[in-house]
Amino acid sequence: MNKIKTTAGITWAFLGLILMIILFPGLSGFSKSFGTLPFMKINPRYSGGEVAFTQSAGACTLAVHKPVFNGLVRDRNTGFVQVDWRGKIPDQIRDTIDYDNDNVPDFVIAVDTKKPASDCCPLSGRVTGLGISSRTSFGWAARINLRKTP
């Protein structure tokens, strides 16, 4: 019994040695495979969610993301919608957004990118105000706070 345990232990230790030796040269391959696992994507609360639709005005593209309400097991009552301006952004931005595409405007967002200052005017009971608004490497991004039921 002792011999079996000893052999198993030493084998396990040598497997550990092999794993350590291949770990660094194989790191990018292992990480790539690991990165494709189903849970390896950034939660929409952080990524901003998928882009729902875009609109272009000259060299600037407005991207409106899908609203994010997700919680641990089911949707929450509060969330946000992310709006990005990509490309060559103007000094003054003012856009009226209908994020749920029901042909009724939901909010007006105004950004002074020079100052910088941002303001959001809710037009729907589901919009509760401005969350984050910031310059980014691609232009400007803002998150507008929402609640599911007005």
Partner: protein
């Protein structure tokens, strides 16, 4: 392989130690230089050579002198310092500040570290996504690479990760060595269960709020890496918590107790690593035939892993981080690196040689990037 029981010294002759260093020399050369060294940039060449030869000298000394922790700690502390230097310098170069901005969060550009892992498990299982504003693949400290590195180290080294792999552990390890004798000797070792409570708390609160609560509210190492810009009361309170915990658990308490108090009393990752000690191939063993029960090892252990009763029974608790400090303090070589399933007191040198190769290799390669980066920056600054 030696099978003797009493007082087998891990010391080696000069030639034998050199022979044992040769494989490490070759493997680290391949991994640190990528196999094809590029000597076109003098600053980087000097940085790589100093790192490479320095590491191998310390590995040689581990074999030659038979001491483990004395030389391990040098790299471990340098790793912690240079990692912080690398992070801070990168942030200052990119953002002109040590704090990250809203844009970094919006663009998911926050560097990932292993301390997030305990909080991402439940949400990953239930929502199939990661609750952290980082990058999955590519870029600095991406999530996939960090998890793979941590996973491999944890499976092989168990809590040894906390003495050979964690780029934070070197902070309290370093401060715990500043005084020769502890000012405070009596601390209840029941506190060592605290990380399990912290683990439970942060795993649950993170799952409920979908926010990595430990990073947001507790992590003491925010004080020496990156934190949210102080713009309101909430961010000021957070900064206050980070700095107080760093000052208390990472600096002050380790200095006065000579123990790694942050790692032993707070870190939720330490709790996971502690549990992983149950499956790893390498363990600490006590050769009761060689032990004289002087209990020097109990006093020297910085992780509260040893008790007098345990020593009498020949057991080391799962809190052991395989740092080797107890071995260095034992003149009888009674406490030693061992392999699971191999009886205590047998194959002492074989087990130590194998464990040292595996753990040192991980530490050397993992720490080499920030060390090279720091030396490179210092060279450019001076010359």
């Amino acid at each position: 392989m030696d099978n003797s029981s009493i007082a087998v010294s891990p010391k080696k002759t000069f030639g034998k130690a050199l022979l044992y260093t040769l494989p490490m020399f070759l493997v680290t050369f391949m991994f640190i230089t990528g196999g094809k060294p590029d000597f076109s940039d003098p600053a980087r060449t000097v940085a790589i050579l100093v790192t490479f030869f320095g590491m191998n000298l310390l590995y040689f000394l581990m074999h030659y002198s038979g001491k483990t922790d004395r030389y391990r700690a040098i790299i471990f502390v340098i790793f912690a310092l240079t990692l912080s230097f690398t992070l801070i310098r990168n942030m200052i170069l990119i953002r002109n500040s040590m704090s990250f901005s809203q844009a970094d969060i919006l663009e998911c550009k926050i560097p990932f570290c292993h301390l997030v892992i305990p909080m991402m498990i439940l949400p990953a299982a239930l929502t199939k996504s990661i609750i952290f504003p980082g990058t999955i693949l590519g870029g600095f400290a991406d999530i996939a690479s960090m998890v793979v590195l941590w996973l491999a180290a944890t499976v092989v080294l168990g809590r040894g990760f906390c003495s050979w792999g964690c780029f934070y552990g070197g902070w309290d390890d370093g401060f715990s060595r500043l005084r020769k004798k502890p000012l405070v000797k009596k601390i209840s070792d029941s506190w060592k269960w605290m990380p399990f409570a912290v683990l439970l708390l942060v795993a649950l609160t993170a799952a409920l709020t979908m926010i990595p609560t430990y990073c947001n509210w507790i992590c003491p190492f925010k004080a020496v890496t990156e934190f949210e810009k102080v713009t309101n009361v909430e961010s000021a309170v957070k900064a206050g918590v980070f700095i107080s915990l760093f000052g208390g658990l990472v600096v002050a308490l380790p200095v006065v107790t000579r123990k790694r108090t942050q790692c032993s009393f707070l870190c939720p990752m330490g709790a996971i690593s502690t549990l992983s000690n149950r499956i790893t191939p390498f363990t600490m063993k006590i050769d009761t035939n060689a032990c004289t029960q002087c209990f020097k090892c109990v006093d020297s252990c910085p992780m509260f892993a040893l008790t007098r009763e345990g020593i009498k029974e020949g057991t080391v608790s799962m809190f052991c981080s395989k740092c080797g400090k107890c071995m260095d303090s034992c003149s009888r070589n009674a406490i030693h690196f061992g392999i699971r399933g191999v009886p205590a007191g047998t194959r002492k040198n074989f087990s130590r040689n194998l464990f040292l190769f595996v753990s040192f290799l991980f530490m050397a390669v993992f720490s080499s990037q920030p060390i090279v980066f720091t030396l490179n920056s210092l060279y450019n600054l001076i010359f």
